[in-house]
C-alpha cells in the first residue's frame, strides 16, 4: 500500500514523486495517494544549536520560501523571550516579506502554472514549460521574469541575501534602513506595482480562457473543506495577526494566536509516508482544512489595500463564498500579488521605516511559537530553549502538510474527471495539474515546470496493475 508524502520541514520530495491510484473491479479510480520518500529530520538537527541562529539556519529548510522560515523562526524566539521588536523592524521585515511574495507568486503564476495557462492543459507536453511560454508570449514572459527579479531584489536589499536572508534577529533587524536604501527600495516597489497590475489582467484572462476550455474545472474540481488563514483587523495579513478558521459554510469556528496552535492543529502519522497530515481539532472532532491563497480569501473580510480590495470584491462576486473550487488558487494568487506590491508601497512611504530597528535582548529559558503566512499557507515554528539559549526542542508545521488530505482528494477528482477512457499523458497531466494547484513546495522541489517527474501506479486490491512514468 502506498501513501503520500510531501515537502515540509522534515520531509522533502526528491526525484520522483509517486502517486498511487486505487482501482475498483470496474476500473474506476477510488482513491489517490501522493507518496514521497524523504525525511531530513530538521526537528532533531536543530536541537543543541544556538537559538539566536535559528532564523538563518531554518531558512535552509526551503530555498523556495526561505524568508517565511526566517521570519517565523525569529517571531517564535521573540515570543519565547517576551521581546517586542521596534516598529521600524516590523516594517522592514514586512517589506522584505512583500518582496518575497512578489518573487514567489510571480514565479508560480508564470513559470510553474504558466505553461498550463498559456499552452493549455492539453498542450504539447514537449512545449509545456517556461521555454514554450517565452516562445508563445515573449513580452509577457519577459515582464514576468522582471517582476520576479524586482521582488527578489527587494528581499535581498532588506534581507541581506535573496535566497536565505539573514537580517531578522531577536529584537529586530541587524541594521537600520537609511535614505539611500529606502530610495532603492522605492524604485523597485514602484516598478513592481506597475508591472503587477499589468500582468494581473493578463493572468486573469488566461485563467478565464482555461476555465472556458475545460468547463469541468468549475463544476467537478471542488471540495467543501474548512479553511485557515491569518487576518488582522479582518483583512488578509502575511506577517502578523490571528489565525482564523472557518467551516465549509463560512462560519467562524475558531480564532486564535499562534501560541495556541497545538490546541487546534493535530498532526497524524500515516503508515506509508514520512509526511504527517494535519487536521483541525474543533469541538472534539478533527476536520480536513486547507491553507494557501484560496483559504486566505475565504477567511478574510477583505484586503487592506485599495486595488487588491477591488479585485477581492470581484473574486467574491464571481465565485461565491466560501469558494470550494480548486482552480481559483491562481486567481487568489493574483490578488495577493497586487496586495504585496501595494503594501510594499505603503511601507516605503512610511517614515517610521527609517527608525531604529533593534533593541538589546537578554537570553533566558523559554518556550515560544511564531507564525507567518507563507506563500503556500500558514507556517509555524516552535522552540524550547534553556537558560544558555540552546534549543532543547523544535517543532515545525508547514503549509503543505495542512493541505495533504485535500491534495489527494484533488488528484482523485482530476483523475476521475479528466482521465476516463484517455491515455497515459492525460492521466499524468491531470494528476500534475491537481498537485500544482496547491503550489506545494513539492512542485518547486520535484520541480516542475511543464512536467514534473512522476510515477503513477494503478493498483487493484493492493496489487500494481499498471505503472506509468514520466521522467524529468
Amino acid at each position: 500500500m502506498g501513501r503520500m508524502l510531501t515537502i515540509d520541514p522534515v520531509t522533502r520530495i526528491e526525484g520522483h514523486a509517486r502517486v498511487a491510484l486505487d482501482l475498483d473491479d470496474a476500473g474506476g479510480i477510488t482513491r489517490a495517494d501522493l507518496i514521497v520518500n524523504e525525511l531530513r529530520g530538521f526537528e532533531r538537527i536543530l536541537v543543541g544549536m544556538e537559538a539566536e541562529k535559528m532564523p538563518q539556519i531554518t531558512a535552509r529548510i526551503c530555498g523556495v520560501c526561505p524568508s517565511a522560515h526566517h521570519l517565523a523562526a525569529v517571531k517564535a524566539l521573540e515570543n519565547a523571550l517576551g521581546v517586542d521588536p521596534p516598529p521600524a523592524a516590523k516594517l522592514m521585515r514586512e517589506l522584505l516579506y512583500m518582496g518575497h511574495f512578489i518573487h514567489s507568486h510571480t514565479l508560480h503564476l508564470f513559470v510553474l502554472a504558466g505553461p498550463d495557462l498559456v499552452l493549455g492543459l492539453d498542450g504539447d507536453p514537449a512545449k509545456r514549460n517556461i521555454v514554450g511560454v517565452v516562445e508563445a508570449v515573449p513580452e509577457v514572459a519577459l515582464k514576468a521574469l522582471r517582476l520576479r527579479s524586482l521582488g527578489q531584489k527587494l528581499n535581498e536589499l532588506i534581507g541581506g541575501r535573496g535566497v536565505h536572508p539573514v537580517t531578522a534577529i531577536i529584537g529586530g533587524m541587524s541594521f537600520d534602513l537609511d535614505e539611500q536604501k529606502l530610495a532603492a527600495a522605492t524604485a523597485l516597489v514602484d516598478e513592481a506595482l506597475e508591472l503587477a497590475l499589468e500582468l494581473a489582467t493578463v493572468a486573469k484572462d488566461l485563467i478565464n480562457a482555461q476555465a472556458t476550455a475545460h468547463p469541468a474545472l468549475l463544476t467537478d474540481l471542488q471540495q467543501p473543506t474548512w479553511y485557515m488563514g491569518t487576518v488582522k483587523g479582518g483583512k488578509v495579513n502575511f506577517y502578523d495577526g490571528r489565525l482564523r478558521v472557518i467551516d465549509d459554510t463560512g462560519m467562524v469556528r475558531a480564532e486564535f494566536d499562534a501560541p495556541e496552535y497545538g490546541t487546534y492543529l493535530a498532526e497524524r502519522t500515516v503508515e506509508s509516508s514520512y509526511l504527517k497530515p494535519v487536521f483541525m481539532n474543533v469541538d472534539g472532532q478533527e476536520h480536513v482544512y486547507r491553507v494557501n491563497t484560496l483559504a486566505r480569501m475565504n477567511v478574510a473580510e477583505g484586503m487592506e489595500t485599495p486595488k487588491a480590495q477591488s479585485w477581492f470584491e470581484a473574486f467574491r462576486k464571481g465565485l461565491g463564498w466560501p469558494c470550494h473550487l480548486t482552480v481559483p488558487h491562481n486567481y487568489a494568487r493574483i490578488i495577493e500579488l497586487i496586495y504585496a506590491c501595494e503594501k510594499a508601497k505603503e511601507i516605503v512611504s512610511d517614515p517610521a521605516v527609517l527608525g531604529s530597528a533593534r533593541i538589546p535582548v537578554t537570553m533566558k529559558a523559554g518556550h515560544g511559537v511564531g507564525h507567518v503566512e507563507a506563500p503556500r499557507g500558514s507556517l509555524f515554528h516552535e522552540y524550547e530553549i534553556d537558560d544558555n539559549g540552546i534549543v532543547q526542542a523544535a517543532n515545525l508545521i508547514v503549509a503543505t502538510q495542512q493541505n495533504y488530505s485535500s491534495i489527494n482528494t484533488s488528484i482523485l477528482q482530476a483523475a476521475q474527471v479528466f482521465v476516463a477512457g484517455r491515455g497515459e499523458d492525460a492521466i499524468l497531466n491531470a494528476v500534475e495539474f491537481a498537485i500544482r494547484s496547491y503550489d506545494p513546495c513539492l512542485s518547486c522541489a520535484t520541480h516542475a515546470v511543464g512536467r514534473m517527474p512522476l510515477i503513477v501506479e494503478m493498483r487493484r486490491n493492493g496489487e500494481t496493475v499498471h505503472l506509468m512514468r514520466r521522467d524529468a
Binding site: 501513501r3 525525511l39 514549460n129 521555454v131 531577536i170 502519522t269
Partner: protein, 310 residues
C-alpha cells in the same frame, strides 16, 4: 564567444531548491546566458527527458538516496565538465548535520515526541528507509569545479559559466569572507565572548575584535560577504577554507581561537571551548564531508553529549 552554443544540463539531488533559485537570480544576465548556452536537461527550465550530451553539468544537492546516486552518475556520464553547485553538493550542507543522530533518534523526535503529533507510530509501510548518511557529490562522482555557498551568489555562478564560455579560469578565488568585508581589525580590550544577540555590534569594527565569533576568516567567500555588511556574524555557510580542509592540524576552532586571542583579551582556549560546546551550530554546514567530519580531532559526539560540561 564561440560560434556554437554551449550545452548545459542541470540537476538537483537532495536540496532545498535554493541553488536553482540562485541561478535564476542572475536576473537580467540569465538572458545573456540563454543567448550563449542551450539549457537541456534541467528541473527548473525545461522538460528534456534523460541526460543529453552536454558541455557543462551543474549538480546541486547531496546524495541521500538511490535516485540521487543514479542521477549523479548519469550527469557525470553525459557532461564533459561537472560543477558541484552549493554547499550541499560540495560538503553535504545543513542536512548533513543529521549525521550526529541515529535514524531512530530522528524518527522518535519527529513522530513520537512532537507536541502537535497525536499518534505515536512510525511510518512503517511503503516508505524507503533513510540512508544513514548524507554524502557529498564527489564521493560518488568526479567533480571538475567546486562552487560551494548556501547558495553561492549569482555573480559566482555567472562568472563560472562565463569562464567556461570564454575558456578562461573562473574568478572564484581562495579569498575568505573577510576579503570583501569592510570592517577594520583592531586590537581591543574585549574580555568576553559575545553571542550574536548580545549587545549591538559597532558598524565599523571587525566582529572578532568585538568578541563575536564571526566565521568569516575561516570561510570561503562565495557570497560577496553580505552578513558582516549587515551586522551579522558569518555562520560559515560556504564551508571552510582550503587550508582548514587540507591540513590535519588546522581547524575552524583553533584558527578562530588564535585570531580572537590576537585581537582581544579573550583566551584561545575559551574560544575553542565555546565552539566545541556549540559544535552543531559552528560546524552545521560541512560536517558531512570527510575533510571535516573525518578529522581525528573532530569529536562532535563527545562535545554535544556533554554540552556545557566543564
Amino acid at each position: 564567444m564561440t560560434a556554437e552554443k554551449i550545452r548545459i544540463n542541470t540537476e538537483w539531488l537532495s536540496v532545498c531548491g535554493g541553488c536553482h533559485v540562485a541561478i535564476v537570480d542572475m536576473h537580467e544576465k540569465i538572458l545573456d546566458v540563454l543567448g550563449a548556452a542551450t539549457i537541456q536537461h534541467s528541473p527548473v527550465l525545461t522538460d528534456i527527458k534523460g541526460y543529453p550530451k552536454a558541455d557543462v553539468g551543474i549538480v546541486t544537492g547531496a546524495i541521500r538516496n538511490e535516485h540521487d546516486r543514479h542521477a549523479a552518475l548519469e550527469m557525470r556520464e553525459a557532461c564533459d565538465l561537472v560543477i558541484a553547485l552549493g554547499t550541499c553538493a560540495v560538503y553535504g550542507g545543513l542536512p548533513g548535520a543529521g549525521m550526529v543522530h541515529t535514524r531512530e533518534e530522528i524518527l522518535q523526535t519527529v513522530y513520537v515526541d512532537s507536541p502537535t503529533t497525536r499518534t505515536d507510530t512510525l511510518p512503517s509501510g511503503d516508505v524507503s528507509s533513510l540512508e544513514k548518511l548524507v554524502t557529498p557529490l564527489d564521493e560518488v562522482i568526479d567533480v571538475d569545479l567546486y562552487l560551494p555557498g548556501c547558495p553561492p551568489h549569482a555573480a559566482f555562478i555567472f562568472d563560472g559559466l562565463l569562464s567556461l564560455l570564454e575558456k578562461r579560469p573562473a574568478r572564484a578565488s581562495s579569498e575568505t569572507v573577510c576579503g570583501r568585508c569592510r570592517r577594520s581589525m583592531k586590537k581591543t580590550d574585549e574580555a568576553a565572548i559575545k553571542r550574536s544577540h548580545e549587545g549591538v555590534p559597532d558598524a565599523e569594527l571587525c566582529l572578532l575584535s568585538q568578541g563575536y565569533i564571526c566565521m568569516g576568516s575561516v570561510t570561503l567567500d562565495r557570497c560577496l560577504s553580505p552578513c558582516p555588511a549587515h551586522g551579522i556574524a558569518c555562520t560559515g555557510c560556504a564551508g571552510p577554507t582550503m587550508q582548514i580542509l587540507t591540513e590535519p592540524n588546522r581547524d575552524i576552532r583553533t584558527e578562530l581561537g588564535e585570531r580572537m586571542a590576537a585581537l582581544t583579551k579573550i583566551e584561545k582556549g575559551e574560544v575553542v571551548k565555546t565552539i566545541e560546546a556549540g559544535a552543531k551550530t559552528y560546524y552545521a554546514y560541512a560536517m558531512a564531508t570527510k575533510m571535516v567530519g573525518g578529522k581525528p580531532t573532530f569529536l562532535i559526539h563527545d562535545w554535544i553529549e556533554r554540552p556545557g560540561d566543564n
